[in-house]
Symmetry: none
DNA sequence: ATTGACACGTGAAGC
DNA sequence: TGCTTCACGTGTCAA
């Protein structure tokens, strides 16, 4: 059964004549003899393979992949890039402020009440505590001087450093802010607790 | 059957679709009316468009693009991701070193007030309260004398006793520490509330 | 049987 | 001209 499809040979500039419609009913072109094949067949094959390879490489680079689909690979790559961009931004901001505060000891504090002062008076002191709860779960407690946007920046920094927050709660009192959080560990390191503690100290130092 | 207009992809130069497929061998299960035409045609079209969209979004996210090709878009995305990863690593290292170099060693250790004394003066008393919320969920409230590491040890003990913490918050005031937590029950016991309360009392007694 | 994802071969544009 | 890239419709395989 072979029918000759509409408009096959002629140059026929198809304006709308792409037979994409309904009853196309084009079956044509048997394979009798040798209807010469397209010349770009191999080229096309190479192109496809190259694209597949790139996609594979991309997938290898992205840590989390929800699915193996081509589309989802790209999708995951997109969100990963966004995450990385955000990380860089946060880290840069942290570094910048840290440098600034290190150069100038005390910035002009024009707040009404200095949280640091209040904290000192209350006998509350900043601290970071990290304990291993279970497997790769860590419980962290952070007390630091309350600052405007401090919590947000803490969260951003922790995210930037790869912490996966499972549960978090925050409360403020007497100029101090207490954040207790259950997080998933970042590395499979041995002394993860100590490393995490150092990291957190570093973070709240930059806030 | 409508067909989605080929809808210029924005980036890629639009091209008219051709429809020249060769019909493979064995086909058609019916001939009476008009039935053939593979049914996944629209699905395939959607899939292609989705992939194109993702690729477009990816390209929009990558700052430098050497070429508009599909393959090169992915290629550029790959190198961009590598660059970002390197950036994050460098920044983290920088921040870490900075913290190490600026060890002020301040951290004044001064625990002047005795929490127990303060608590007694404030009229706050230790207590444990357990109520059943829903099914096997319990809500617990614990007030006890604030001690260094007390909360951590409470968490450790509760974990050790098999409590599964759903949500926890802690606050301290006037020498006392209040922990309110939503936990999943440990046993399917009948008088689970009472049993849990005894367990918690025992725990904070040992802290 | 139905659905979703893929690779394939091919005509059409652009350079 | 040739060469590259693209979208298309389709068959096929797996869940």
């Amino acid at each position: 059964m072979e029918y000759v499809g509409s408009a096959l040979d002629g140059l026929f500039i198809t304006k709308e004549g792409n037979s994409r419609g309904r009853v196309g009913r084009r079956r044509y072109s048997n394979d009798d003899g040798t209807e010469y094949k397209s010349k770009n067949l191999h080229a096309e094959r190479r192109r496809r393979q190259k694209l597949s390879d790139r996609l594979l490489a991309l997938r290898a680079l992205v840590p989390i992949i929800t699915n193996m689909n081509k589309a989802t690979i790209i999708e995951d790559a997109i969100s990963y890039i966004e995450e990385l961009q955000n990380n860089v931004e946060v880290l840069q901001g942290l570094l910048y402020e840290m440098e600034a505060s290190s150069e100038e000891g005390a910035l002009p504090r024009s707040e009404e009440i200095d949280p640091a002062e209040e904290m000192r008076k209350s006998g509350i002191q900043a601290e970071v505590e990290v304990t291993q709860i279970d497997g790769n779960k860590l419980w962290i407690k952070i007390i630091f001087e309350k600052k405007r946007g401090g919590f947000t920046r803490l969260m951003e920094a922790m995210t930037a450093f790869g912490f996966e927050l499972i549960d978090t709660s925050v409360t403020t009192s007497k100029g101090a802010m207490l954040v207790s959080s259950c997080v998933k560990g970042i590395h499979g390191e041995i002394n993860e607790v100590q490393r995490t503690k150092e990291l957190l100290l570093q973070i709240i130092n930059g806030i």
